[in-house]
Subunit: 541 residues, 2 copies
């Protein structure tokens, strides 16, 4: 390998108050604009938000001595107090995050610190622990659960530890199909670097264009090709990590029985135990053949039964996803097929990539057809594939038009899927109704397993965007409904701050005690990402 | 489901001083007997071992108050002080375990306690913690790493917590393909109960006939069908567990991003955090179609490259395994084909089960053939399938004949496979040579992954069986060689007591600190399986 070629380029800076690249921002499609009043009633366009240069942030709470200590490690250029950069490292991209971007005064980390490598991360954590400064690891900033908020916790200040400089392909073992990537490498950059050698990682969550490899690992991400290549945690074969009290280098072999798999304890740790600095991942040859196809079913239930057959009996799809009737209608509207919007039915997409695609497609098609599905050609599937990362742009356009738009997701067994979907739908619908707002709820299955599947909901509502408190209340009702109906509080968005209230329901009191014990051991001063993942200690007395 | 039918029958009692059922004990095949002097020189038949009724065990150290407390929970009939039963629950089945069975005086747990259910396990752990009595969870007793030795640690006594009564199929979700089995259910019983409903678990390690479902979970077991159905840890979708300080109920959904996967921290915990009482597993319809086939390769290296192609590109085999030249020769000798023993070459077996077997076989066959393999018909593969659980009987026969025989295993990436195999082979060969003994080493690959494979070694040697210290020294050399060559200290045998010295090399000092922190939190008195998994605390001063 020529290491010159394997160094990553500087990652793109995302729009600070919305998704992605401002130049890609989209207008609401005409047909969607026409549908909105029917679905939601009259909505009010929000006031114009302030530009980043007009937002106030507090002065840094770091002392000159703190700053000198950090600068000694990373160099002057990589400790920034610039208010705009601090604002850019102050939040993820949930809808509440974006609505808070309209405030005059916003929280921000006390500095943005950009280490160059593993050793610098280790030194920075040592300084932060010694000086009582909280540390929020920052990758792509695509969290939708409050995972990167600049919360100092019990400490006097907080820094955003920006991992952008830890970027690049360190090694590639072509025989074993393993690559080591630095944690700050953005996903498109990782794919570019791998593709230069003929390999692909194949992890394509909706956040793909901005998210980082370390972020995928820290949040147990799952991508749109998960049917083919698995959840990110199953792609990872090793991690390197710095904790405030020692390094970890985990994943010695493709299969091992050497005690509990501690790598799996660090995957999903969301920065509260330490900082992942490098990830070893399973990679495959860039697929040559590809078949995309769309399908229609009389209803969502029939479609779900077909997906279940496929994953339990064939298992050969790279992508397989099913939209409910509402999402199917809106998707058609988006691409201008307004005439077909009112057609009943649920649509699905299959993609087969790699080896033996014709045969895999045939077996899957036979199962889908037997289960009541009908092939609908390539067009809709190609549309999905072309726009697969663009959902967040549409949300920006909706928010600008005064429509509340948010997503949430869960998963459960096949036998519990429809009960869970009904419970979540009811909690959303009733929650908005109680707030005096109409809502429109769409749902899809995008990740399938032999034993069950994910459910991903998109909700549009006619609540005023200046009342984020309304959503907080509804989100709590939905979270409670998910737990009561036997779902997981999150299938791939992670816990962050927003899902922390349900983690005790998810893993039990004993599970929480385990997380706290590991946290105390690795991060005794509690400097790592305060407020994320582990619920606050119950107050006594 | 009719729960009457889903209750398990009493598990079979294994021969106390060897493998399995005494009635199945085998003679050494003539051809092997003929080969042994050529391979190992003259060996000495050991003295006859004492019958179980002649072995001395210490009096129980439990007080009447202790016994009363245990009896109050499980009833008088389920607290046994019988010396023979205590001896039967005193050891696993490693070769050193079996050699120690020849001693006049042997260690034994102070009592064998048999709880009926989860609640009784919880009460028993409470009593044990309060009274300072160590607890060794006992499933099938098939550990080959000292995982069930009756070690009281710092405590005044130790009980074997025999889980045989926690046996049965609790529920089966035919839609989702999930079954809940009690932890003490033996594997054949689990398959019998599932088969009555048309389902199969499909986990077939060599210990299959005696091992328990809870044991599989506690040790991260891997079965011979792992290419098709995965390691046991990937079959598990939920566990229920009692720790001395609280219960755990983990695994809410088929996919989740709700923080670290704590279930994976409990899988492989080998009884040191608590007792697994029930396991939810993924199951599939009993496969109807099956194709078995054997293959020959000019050498092991060519065969390994073929297996790599198959797992990286086709991925459809249920079983795929490769024996090196030595193992191929002995296998042929065993089945009486002595004339072919000296034929050079490595042999492989493929099995395809379930759906679409013809196509899967064709694709795999094409890749194997292109990689230099030749189909060798069904016979050898059928022989393997018929005798797949019988290896330990052959070991008993060898030990009776005075031949030392033991197995060990590791795993690494494809690119490192041959270097690791060479290092282990050299450590074994040199170790025995330094002890003045000839040795004969066989190796196979039986578990494949996209990124690497396992290596399983069987060694025969002409050392006297009354000198187990010789093996200890060699085992240490081999362990060191495995770590130096980048392997894992165990691919599927687990850590137990025998591999604990290398766990620090495997997961690092920080990893050990994590395990100790979890142990302190869940088991503050350290009653659970002392001496297993976690290396002894370093002594200070």
């Amino acid at each position: 390998m020529d290491h010159q070629d394997d160094r990553a380029v500087e990652p793109p800076e995302m729009r600070w108050d919305g998704w992605g690249d401002f130049d890609r921002a989209t207008e609401l499609p005409r047909a969607v604009r026409a549908l909105l009043p029917l679905m939601l009633g009259r909505v009010h366009r929000p006031e114009h938000a302030p530009g980043i240069e007009h937002v106030e942030v507090d002065e840094t709470r770091l002392t000159e001595a703190d700053l000198t200590a950090f600068r000694t490690v990373v160099g002057e250029a990589h400790v920034s107090l610039d208010p705009q950069l601090r604002l850019r490292r102050a939040a993820g991209r949930s809808t509440p995050d974006l609505l808070r971007r309209r405030d005059r005064h916003q929280p921000a980390p006390d500095a943005v610190v950009r280490p160059a490598d593993h050793a610098e991360v280790r030194e920075l954590l040592g300084i932060a622990a010694q000086r009582g400064i909280a540390v929020v690891p920052f990758g792509g900033g695509t969290s939708v659960v409050g995972g990167v908020d600049p919360d100092a916790g019990a400490h006097r200040a907080v820094i955003a530890l920006d991992l952008a400089r830890l970027s690049g392909l360190i090694s590639l073992d072509e025989i074993s199909g393993e690559a080591v990537l630095l944690a700050g490498t953005r996903a498109p950059e990782a794919e570019r670097l791998l593709a230069a050698h003929g390999f692909e990682l194949g992890h394509y969550p909706q956040s793909f264009r901005y998210a980082s490899i370390g972020g995928f690992a820290a949040t147990r991400s799952s991508g749109q090709n998960s049917a083919g290549y698995g959840r990110f945690e199953t792609m990872v074969t090793g991690i390197r990590m710095v904790t405030p009290t020692g390094d970890l280098d985990l994943g010695r072999a493709p299969g091992s029985a050497a005690g509990p798999d501690l790598m799996r304890l660090m995957l999903g740790s969301e920065g509260v135990f330490g900082v992942i600095t490098a990830v070893r991942v399973r990679v495959h040859r860039v697929p040559v053949d590809r078949i995309v196809e769309s399908w229609t079913f009389p209803d969502f239930e029939t479609g779900a039964a077909a997906l279940r057959e496929v994953v339990q009996r064939a298992g050969g799809a790279t992508v397989i996803r099913l939209s409910d009737e509402a999402e199917t209608g809106v998707s058609l509207a988006q691409i201008g097929k307004i005439g077909r919007v009112l057609a009943k039915g649920a649509s699905a997409v299959t993609v087969f990539e790699g080896e033996d695609v014709e045969h895999r497609r045939e077996r899957t098609a036979a199962l889908i057809t037997a289960a009541g599905g009908t092939s609908a050609g390539r067009t809709a599937a190609e549309d999905w594939a072309r726009t697969r990362f663009d959902g967040p742009y549409l949300r920006d356009a909706l928010l600008d038009a005064g429509v509340f738009c948010e997503t949430l997701e869960t998963a459960t067994t096949w036998s519990n899927l429809h009960a869970l979907r009904a419970a979540v739908t009811a909690a959303l619908k009733d929650g908005f109704a109680d707030a005096g707002a109409k809502s429109f709820i769409m749902c899809h299955v995008s990740h399938v397993y032999p034993t069950g599947a994910s459910l991903y909901f998109t909700v549009l509502a006619g609540i005023k965007n200046d009342r984020p408190g309304t959503w907080d209340i509804i989100k709590h009702r939905v979270g409670d409904a998910i737990m009561a109906a036997g779902g997981t509080i999150t299938h791939h968005h992670a816990i962050g701050r927003d899902h922390a209230p349900w983690l005790t329901d998810e893993i039990g009191e004993t599970g929480i005690r385990i997380l706290r014990a590991v946290k105390r051991e690795l991060d005794p001063h509690g400097i790592m990402n305060p407020g994320v993942l582990i619920p606050d200690e119950p107050r006594h007395g």
